[in-house]
């Protein structure tokens, strides 16, 4: 893992597809953000709880543990975890897939279908969320 500069905001990208992961890294770093990576839900939980990123970009379909289960764990295990902003970045469609029908319960800030968005758009949304006023969370 690369060294992090304290002033940069940290984004955890949880994504199992290498190409997608790399593209996100490039785009986010270009925008001046520090990028943490995890390739499945299990390592995702570990990195999140350890590094406390400022935002999590979360894919759903992953081996070993999917995004939904990971988010559940993050939300439960940690006070920080309850409030960390999460952008779901998946190729599943929200309204139809049983797996993610109740993703809303876990309070993501936004839901994006990768194929429908430019990578630039994703970065914009990330920055928007990071700079938004903090909503008090229980």
């Amino acid at each position: 893992m690369p060294l992090l500069e304290p002033t940069k905001k940290k984004v955890l990208v949880v994504e199992d597809d290498d190409a997608t992961l790399k593209a996100l890294r490039l785009a986010l770093e270009k925008a001046g953000l520090a990028v943490l990576e995890a390739k499945n839900g299990v390592s995702g939980v570990v990195v999140a709880l350890e590094k406390h990123p400022d935002l999590i970009l979360l894919d759903i379909l992953m081996p070993m543990m999917n995004g939904w289960e990971m988010l559940q764990q993050v939300r439960e295990k940690d006070d920080w975890g309850k409030c960390v902003p999460v952008i779901i970045l998946t190729n599943l469609s929200a309204d139809e897939d049983a797996q993610i029908r109740h993703i809303a319960e876990l309070g993501p800030s936004f839901f994006m279908v990768k194929a429908d968005w430019k990578v630039e758009g994703v970065v914009e949304k990330v920055l928007e969320t990071l700079n938004a006023e903090k909503v008090p969370c229980p």
Binding site: D17, A19, T20, A23, L26, A27, K30, L61, N91, L92, S93, D95, E96, D97, V113, K114, A115, D116, K118, V119, E120
Partner: protein, 748 residues
């Protein structure tokens, strides 16, 4: 008079004898008559010929005497003059047989040939001394001494390449004015002679043409000796040489020729006959006569015997008749008595017969009726058997209930599908055994349809088998109406469609999975292309930028396709979310048209939009309407040729109004999209809204279409309670109509 056999035979013999004798004499007569006629005919011809020959010869002789006279008065002085004379005088066609005319001049003791006509071919004869030839000399001397024409005996003359038998006539020529009374005077007055060779054959051939046809032959002899040496002419020498044939008719005549005598022998050839009938007459007479005699004899015989027989028979019959007559007379009385009795009985019989016939008639009628009934019953039984068999073997479950839904019949398939056998189902309320509770509205709807609306209800239902297994069924329940409109029975048919559902489910899941999986690499393509275009990997040339743009566009296209697949799945699963908002449909339509501007301009299409004034806003899902409009407009553009026309119009219609045969159930908005494109073929009309259907002509214009547009459009209309249909004429264009309900209560 009865004849004894002996007498009969005697009579027969006598008759026969007489007749045969008569025949014999007749035959003899006929024969001699025939003979006589033949002989007569023969003699006729022969005599005629003799006369002809004689006159021909006389003709020649007189011509020669004329020549003699002329010669003495005007002797020719040269060969040329001689030729002239005799060319005209003696012509071979007039005098057949005459070979030439020769002038022989007395020169001392010689008679030398001086002139010859014709000279050609006979030049060698000039100067020849004829006196040296014996037979010539005798004739010359004879003519000189007598002053008459003389003839040589038979000589051979060279003519037409052969030696032919002939004679030479000599005509004495004297000094003009000399006295010719005595032989001495003649001898001293002679100056020469005309020598005339004659080929006898030619002469006779000419004269005897007709005789030959009659099968009568002629032999001509010099002198009286009828031998070969003296033979001048044999008309039939090839078939019957001299002496070869002795004829039944022969005639010998003698002819005077100058100072000689010729003998003519005529004889009938074997072919000489009278007419066929005449020849055969005697024979025929004999045969016919004999036959006739025999016939008469036979007839007489037969008659006499017949007559005898007849007489005998007649005698017998007479005897019998007499005895019969006696008995008849005695029976007569008896009969008349019996007759009366019979008549009475006959009457009563006739009456009973009438009665019976009537009865029979009635019975027959009854029998026919019965037969009819029986056939009807049989047919019915057969039909019922067939139906029962069909039902029992049907794979679908058939349940018949009474008006309240109590089962009165269940077929064998009930057990196969539900696990409960028909007996268990009888008497119970339909479906209760295997039912899985559905929402109460479902049952309400079902009963309403079949009992109140009296229509067939079709729907899907979940059931549970006896072994606890759940299955999906497609049910169809129909009411059976009697004549007064009551429903005494319901017929329910259920089909186990679990398998189909599973397959469908699997398909949908597969498409869903595939679509999602495709999105991951698609994301990579899009994002990296995006970053390339942003210059993240270095500055791009114009070309590179263009190429990457193409890739990006293609990537967007793939995403669009995936989205539509997923959309359909959602529609089918019924999980599409509908968010009705107040929508200005006209506005949306304008946007859709604007989005397609490029394609419209590329094909030089003329687009007219007409939106009715003050159209109401419709509460409807925006996305839904957009998709439908986009679909119709894109189709219109795609399937219309260059320079075609597209027309879009929108109107409000009131409840109950009819548009193109469809009635609006409430206030509605009607959108029509019209084009002058390829239209829809009659055969494709029913399939146009089918999933994945593409017509042949559509495939030609756009091979890449997925056949889902109209399918989706219809599904969406089903969701919002709208309608979509079309009118089209193949090759002329199509108009698609969309009816959207305006009223609130039609919202989902």
């Amino acid at each position: 008079m009865q004849l004894v056999k002996k007498q009969r035979i005697l009579l027969l013999a006598t008759v026969l004898m007489i007749l045969l004798t008569a025949t014999f004499f007749t035959w003899k007569q006929v024969k001699s008559s025939t003979e006589g006629t033949a002989l007569y005919r023969f003699e006729q011809y022969a005599s005629r010929d003799v006369a002809n020959v004689q006159s021909a010869l006389n003709f020649y002789i007189s011509a020669l005497y004329s020549a003699q006279g002329l010669y003495e008065v005007y002797p020719p002085a040269s060969q040329a003059e001689f030729s002239n004379y005799f060319k005209r005088l003696i012509r071979p066609d007039r005098y057949p047989g005459i070979l030439a005319m020769v002038f022989v001049e007395k020169a001392g003791g010689q008679y030398v040939i001086k002139y010859v006509e014709p000279l050609v071919g006979n030049e060698s004869a000039v100067g020849v001394d004829l006196y040296a030839l014996a037979d010539r000399r005798i004739a010359i001397e004879g003519a000189r001494d007598t002053g008459q024409i003389t003839a040589t005996p038979k000589v051979l003359l060279f003519a037409s390449g052969k030696n032919r038998p002939g004679t030479v006539l000599f005509v004495p020529l004297y000094k003009a004015g000399a006295s010719l009374e005595t032989t001495e005077q003649r001898r001293s007055a002679i100056i020469g002679e005309l020598d005339v060779p004659i080929v006898v054959q030619n002469l006779f051939d000419h004269v005897l043409a007709e005789t030959r046809d009659q099968n009568i032959a002629l032999e001509v002899f010099d002198g009286t000796d009828m031998t070969e040496d003296h033979l001048y002419y044999d008309s039939d020498e090839t078939k019957y040489p001299l002496g070869a044939y002795t004829s039944r008719f022969t005639l010998i005549k003698q002819l005077k020729v100058a100072d000689r005598v010729w003998t003519l022998k005529f004889y009938a050839l074997p072919e000489f006959k009278l007419s066929l009938f005449a020849e055969l007459a005697p024979m025929l007479t004999l045969i016919i006569g004999t036959l006739f005699s025999l016939l008469i004899a036979f007839v007489i015989y037969a008659l006499t015997t017949a007559r005898d027989k007849a007489i005998l028979i007649a005698k017998d019959i007479t005897k019998e008749l007499e005895s019969v007559n006696k008995s008849l007379l005695s029976n007569d009385k008896e009969l008349s008595r019996k007759n009366t009795i019979i008549n009475e009985q006959l009457q009563s019989l006739l009456e009973s017969k009438k009665a019976m016939l009537n009865l029979l008639q009635d019975l027959r009628g009854e029998k026919e009726k019965l037969a009819d009934e029986k056939t009807k019953a049989e047919n019915l039984t057969n039909d019922l058997k067939k139906f029962k068999l069909a039902l029992d073997n049907a794979s679908d479950q058939v349940v018949i209930t009474d008006g309240e839904g109590i089962v009165v019949y269940a077929n064998a398939a009930v057990e196969k599908i539900t696990g409960y056998n028909p007996e268990e189902a009888l008497g119970k309320k339909a479906g209760v055994l295997w039912k899985v509770p559905m929402p109460i509205e479902y049952y309400k709807n079902l009963w309403h349809t079949i009992k109140e609306q009296k229509k067939t209800f079709i729907g899907e239902i979940q059931n549970r088998r006896k072994n606890g297994q759940l299955y999906t069924a497609l049910i169809s329940i129909s009411p059976v109406l009697d004549n007064s409109g009551n429903v005494p029975y319901f017929v329910g048919i259920e089909r186990d469609i679990t398998r189909e559902k599973e397959i469908d489910q699997a398909k949908s899941e597969f498409i869903s999975l595939a679509s999602h999986q495709m999105r991951t690499p698609l994301t990579a393509i899009s994002w990296y292309t995006e970053m390339l275009l942003d210059g993240d990997a270095g500055k791009l040339s114009v070309k590179q930028e263009n190429y990457f743009n193409e890739i990006y566009t293609a990537g967007r296209q793939i995403n669009k396709i995936i989205k539509s697949f997923l959309h359909i799945l959602r529609l089918e699963a019924g999980t599409v979310s509908v968010n009705p908002i107040a929508l200005d449909v006209a506005d949306m339509s304008r946007t859709v048209v604007k989005e397609s501007k490029l394609d419209i301009e590329k094909k030089h299409l003329r687009v007219t939009e007409r939106y009715q004034e003050s159209l109401p806003t419709v509460h409807i899902d925006q996305e839904l309407v957009r998709v439908v409009l986009q679909n119709l407009v894109t189709n219109a553009i795609k399937y219309t040729r260059e320079k075609g026309e597209i027309g879009i119009s929108m109107d409000q219609v009131k409840r109950g109004a009819t548009i193109d045969g469809k009635t609006a159930e409430g206030n509605s908005l009607v959108i029509s999209v019209h084009d002058t494109g390829i239209g829809i073929a009659a055969g494709d009309r029913d399939k146009i809204f089918d999933k994945f259907f593409r017509s042949e002509s559509a495939k030609l214009l756009d091979p890449n279409g997925n056949g889902l547009g109209l399918y989706m459009a219809r599904k969406m209309m089903d969701i919002v309670g709208g309608k979509i249909w079309f009118e089209s004429e193949e090759g002329r264009g199509a108009t698609f109509y969309v009816l959207l309900p305006v009223d609130e209560k039609n919202l989902v």
